[in-house]
Symmetry: C2
DNA sequence: GTGAAAATGCGGAAATATCGCAACAAATGG
DNA sequence: CCATTTGTTGCGATATTTCCGCATTTTCAC
């Protein structure tokens, strides 16, 4: 595993802020020559510390006007039931996250939809029709004062 | 606002998969000449549909071995109390997301820590000491079968 | 059809990434 | 204390890519 000295931490911070910064600029900001900087970045990529790069899209401008977190409880706790549920979730484009959590219910989902109507369709026609699903509780997101993963 | 024809959708899909793909490769994949492709990307950036680019880090390799979602209820529902709470959250590096939600409690947080011990410290020393905080419930993430925002 | 507006492809100049190489620094062992 | 090894750095040359002007083609409304 690559060691995380102060320079590598700076590199990661800059790349999280702007994943498309040129190697020349990046080298400037972290105080290295371009070649030394490039080698560090390549090592961070090779070792998997940098898992990849992504464009961050403005969901609102793509028609997403409704976000909710949804807890889901299953009626059976078998491996089969969980796998079937997770397969169905993988197919649903509205679901951007699915976490297996501790507590009274098994799953926490993040669901993105165009509007309340679109969410209702998802709630009724997709989640509601899955035979493994027992309990559904929706928490509508009114705002996100902090979202470092956006 | 930029129109989202099929080509632009392809571009966005590719850039979400690999935000650092070269314009030459991207043009190939979406079936355009490099110059036409570059112009579309620049327009998507200018219009804000592409909000930016980020490196995706492997949190596990950075020492994050514990993730939890935490619901927080406040004891006062004044604007002041909310703002004070949100300021405190903004300062806490363990909190990667803070959502204002509908339901029995006001907030849903995503918290990342090195391990259970580090989380306990955060829970006790940070969250527990905020005067506005009334109820705290933790849901430990055991796995994330789907996480498009990772 | 016809004209206006937008999108496209081409080509070249400028900027950038990439890699070999030698110098340097920090640890290791005698 | 010195020699050796290992890892990192900066430099410079080359290959690649970005970026922009320009002419052509396509699209669309009338």
């Amino acid at each position: 595993m690559a060691k995380l000295d102060q320079t590598n931490q700076k590199i990661l911070r800059e790349l999280c802020r702007d994943g498309r910064v040129s190697n020349l600029d990046l080298a400037d900001r972290v105080g290295l020559s371009p070649s030394a900087c490039l080698r560090r970045v390549q090592e961070l990529e090779r070792s998997g510390v940098i898992a990849g790069y992504r464009a961050v899209l403005d969901k609102a401008k793509l028609g997403v006007g409704f976000v909710a977190y949804v807890t889901v409880g299953l009626n059976r706790h078998t491996k089969d039931a969980q796998e079937a549920f997770e397969r169905a979730i993988a197919r649903a484009p509205e679901v951007t996250e699915c976490h297996n959590i501790t507590g009274a219910v098994e799953y926490l989902l993040r669901v993105e939809a165009a509007d309340l109507g679109a969410y209702k369709s998802f709630h009724t026609d997709i989640l509601g029709t899955l035979p493994q699903v027992n309990a559904i509780t929706s928490y509508v997101v009114m705002g996100s004062p902090k979202d470092d993963r956006a």
